[in-house]
């Protein structure tokens, strides 16, 4: 595209020498992103890096465009600790810029809601975007919150600890009676230093960190990581391993989507489906455990391939269980969608318009429920999805119903995909792992996977010794939390659980 002439085109899972990532003045870098997004691209990643040893911070950006087979990458070196914020011209940069500021102590001038993201100290000693002195540690949750003023306005603050068995986060509602004018979501409670600890790797803990970045997306994140490592090592994945990874990724989607349908049913008081799907989610997790022993797929995806095989007997057993579970999910889902009282509660609740979804850069089922054809398996297919993929599922209305509907479509699509794949692998005896040697020095790779929540993006940079000099993780939740905040506008506060469940975002994936 003409707007992206400054950025280099690279493929998903393709390692390129760092020198091929064009370096440009900040104004060009900024313009490429702003113009690119205005022309329909989205920001997959925008992050800082200081590993080049300069006193100034390097910025890298990855742009994705549904209509183009390649991704755009570019970089710039900031001149000092201030830069002109992109957010006023490109809303979806808002959280990336806040993260940049927090990690590297650079200030996006003119950012309209400049607040911490995870409440940690700057990684660059002596550089702090909020002017804190060295040793002055930010306190979680202490920031300026939005406040709607008026006689009958009241504020409801919830969390970090919530009522259910769920991760922590802080939510502030500005309400007029039952009606929510604004919801502000302040996270960071789950910050474990996951991303920072990957620098200097790969080391013996790397894969285990990646598998727990978001524990419900172990397969998604582990596959993104392994795809990055394999590209950097120039390792060709055995076809059999690709197939098994594809099956595992879709099983992860099945488990979570089924669980979400049950949770949505529970939040409108439709107990039959809530109860059935609670069990069925476990049945899909147990299918993953049938393959690798772990319900969350821990230990399955490893650099160079997969660690467990599925022979004909196991494939047959898996297929049997898949059909049994699908029969019951179908029954539970049809019950849900055919119930008038459920429809009444799902429709026109928590609506996000198509325009808003584009502006915020939403991904995954939340974006597809606004009619956007965003799905890495279709846009930037890698691995098994180059040859075979479930059809794209979208819905037009952007409400809770649409997000539930997309999930139900995807359950059906994933089942039929796994069915075909399991049938195809049972007659082969290929290798499971290819040797992944040392990583090429001074390279960059962008690795995208369509996790069950949406686009999982890993960007790895290597140093002169082939170690990670920077490792950036963008969980789909990072894009989508703002979608939930916006979905709550003009809703009843009592619909928060329902809206929240319809997004079902990750706290730890966001907080890293």
């Amino acid at each position: 595209m003409s707007n992206r002439t400054d950025f280099a085109a690279i493929r998903n899972g393709e390692a390129v020498p760092l020198g091929q990532v064009p370096e440009m003045p900040f104004t060009d870098f900024r313009r490429s992103i702003v113009d690119g997004v205005a022309a329909g691209q989205r920001i997959s990643a925008l992050f800082g890096d200081t590993s080049a040893g300069s006193d100034n911070v390097d910025l890298f950006a990855v742009l994705a465009d549904s209509t183009q087979p390649a991704l755009g990458v570019g970089r710039t070196r900031l001149d000092g600790d201030n830069f002109l914020s992109l957010t006023p011209d490109c809303i979806q940069a808002h959280l990336f810029e806040r993260e940049l500021a927090e990690q590297f102590g650079v200030h996006p001038d003119g950012h309209p809601w400049f607040k911490p993201v995870r409440f940690h100290s700057s990684y660059r000693l002596g550089h702090d975007a909020w002017g804190r002195r060295p040793g002055e540690v930010p306190i979680i949750g202490v920031t300026d919150y939005y406040r709607v003023e008026g006689e009958e306005i009241h504020e409801v603050a919830v969390g970090p600890v919530h009522a259910g068995v769920i991760e922590p986060g802080h939510f502030r509602f500005q309400c007029y009676g039952e009606q929510v004018f604004h919801l502000e979501i302040s996270l960071g409670y789950q910050h474990r230093g996951a991303e920072r600890t990957l620098v200097g790797g790969p080391h013996k803990r790397t894969i285990h960190t990646v598998e727990t970045v978001a524990g419900d997306t172990s397969i998604g994140h582990a596959t993104a990581y392994c795809q990055a490592v394999e590209a950097l090592a120039g390792c060709d994945l055995p076809r059999r391993a690709e197939v098994l990874r594809g099956i595992a990724l879709e099983l992860e989607r099945l488990a979570n989507h089924s669980g979400d349908l049950g949770a949505l049913a529970g939040d409108v008081g439709f107990l039959p489906t809530a109860s059935f799907c609670g069990r069925l989610r476990g049945d899909f997790l147990n299918l993953t455990a049938l393959i690798c022993g772990s319900r969350f797929g821990r230990g399955l995806v490893r650099p160079g391939g997969v660690a467990f095989d599925v022979d004909a007997t196991r494939a047959h057993l898996a297929l049997e269980r898949l059909e049994a579970a699908f029969r019951d999910v179908k029954n539970a889902a049809e019950l849900l969608f055919n119930s008038a009282s459920v429809q009444a509660r799902f429709e026109n609740t928590g609506t996000v318009s198509r325009e808003t979804a584009i502006a915020l850069g939403l991904v995954g089922p939340a974006a597809r429920a606004c009619g956007l054809p965003r799905d890495v398996r279709h846009e930037f297919p890698a691995g098994r999805f180059r040859f075979s993929r479930p059809p794209l599922a979208t819905a037009p209305d952007g409400d809770v119903f649409a997000r539930a509907n997309v999930r139900w479509q995807e359950i059906q699509n994933s089942v039929s995909f796994i069915r075909d794949e399991l049938a195809a692998i049972s007659i082969s005896d290929e290798a499971l792992v290819a040797a992944a040697g040392p990583l090429q020095p001074n390279h960059l790779v962008v690795s995208l996977i369509e996790g069950w929540r949406g686009e999982v993006c890993h960007v790895a940079l290597t140093d002169a010794h082939g170690r990670f000099s920077r490792y950036k993780i963008v969980d789909p939740s990072f894009h989508n939390w703002m979608g939930l905040a916006v979905a709550l506008r003009d809703q009843q506060i009592s619909d928060f659980p329902l809206c929240n469940k319809s997004f079902n975002l990750s706290y730890c994936g966001h907080d890293l």
């Binding site: 995870r118 068995v165 910050h191 727990t212 524990g215 455990a289 690798c292 730890c508």
Partner: protein, 266 residues
């Protein structure tokens, strides 16, 4: 309405017979390891070096594996030249003390029941408040699953409740990030005494894969008195359920600490 009844019929009765019947676990499930130090070549430290969480110690008395740090990932097994370590499908892993998790391959001293006074208080009705303190949502998910029809936690009188004020104890997951420290301590303080603390998963027990990151506290042990340790990454729901029932003295023939199936040199 008829549709709902028909669906109910199709979905069937799904609650497992456990504990009256032994549950079946996937054949590839990784539970209690078998450690056989007599196979270790002199000076060999392959397993200890491969372990991502440094859970393995080798000294004169042999090899010890700290189940509180173990991710049950088998990196040690693959590194071992002599097959001195392998994993069984034994899912009963919970202990009452941190030390009991340091496993030498002989005897795992599984969780003993609470004293009689506590059992009288909690034995038939235990309300728990869960706090995720930087958990990755895997431990949380497998705690949640206990409330589904499959495990039907409430048949044991155990329930997760919404407020610490209604709770008899807290279940902690995650390595305890610095950013969750205050909220965790406040939640604990809000639970009326006497109260229990249960640590679920490698992170809550030792920090897990995040151990020694400056952003975390290596689990909750340094902040709160833990009554029950349930190891795993994440622990299987049955491992958690077994631990809870042991704590309450609700398992048959539990009065003495159990012996592992394959114990050596007793």
């Amino acid at each position: 309405m008829l549709d709902i009844l028909l669906a109910r019929l199709q979905q069937g009765h799904r609650t497992i017979a456990y504990p009256s019947e032994e549950p079946t676990l996937p054949d590839r499930f990784r539970g209690l390891p078998v450690v056989n130090s007599s196979k270790c070549p002199d000076e060999c430290r392959s397993c200890a070096e491969a372990c991502p969480t440094d859970a393995i110690r080798i000294d004169d008395s042999g090899l010890r594996l700290d189940l509180g740090r173990c991710l049950f990932c088998t990196d040690c097994m693959e590194a071992c030249p002599e097959e001195a370590i392998h994993y069984t499908t034994e899912y009963r892993l919970a202990t009452r003390t941190r030390d009991h998790l340091v496993f030498d391959g002989r005897l795992l001293e599984r969780a003993a029941a609470l004293d009689e006074t506590s059992r009288r208080l909690f034995g038939h009705s235990l309300k728990l408040r869960q706090v995720s303190a930087a958990g990755c949502n895997a431990c949380e998910a497998d705690l949640n699953v206990l409330s589904t029809v499959v495990f039907d936690l409430s048949r044991f009188g155990i329930q997760f409740v919404a407020s610490p004020r209604h709770a008899d104890g807290i279940v902690i997951t995650g390595p305890v990030s610095e950013n969750m420290r205050t909220a965790l301590l406040a939640t604990y303080a809000a639970v009326p005494a006497p109260k229990l603390v249960i640590a679920v998963g490698a992170c809550a027990i030792s920090g897990g894969p995040y151990r020694d990151n400056p952003e975390v506290h290596n689990g909750c042990g340094s902040l709160l008195p833990v009554d029950l340790f349930i190891p795993g990454c994440p622990p299987h729901p049955l491992t958690i359920l077994d631990g809870l029932l042991r704590l309450l003295g609700r398992l048959e023939g539990q009065s003495q600490p159990d012996q592992p199936a394959r114990r050596q040199n007793a």
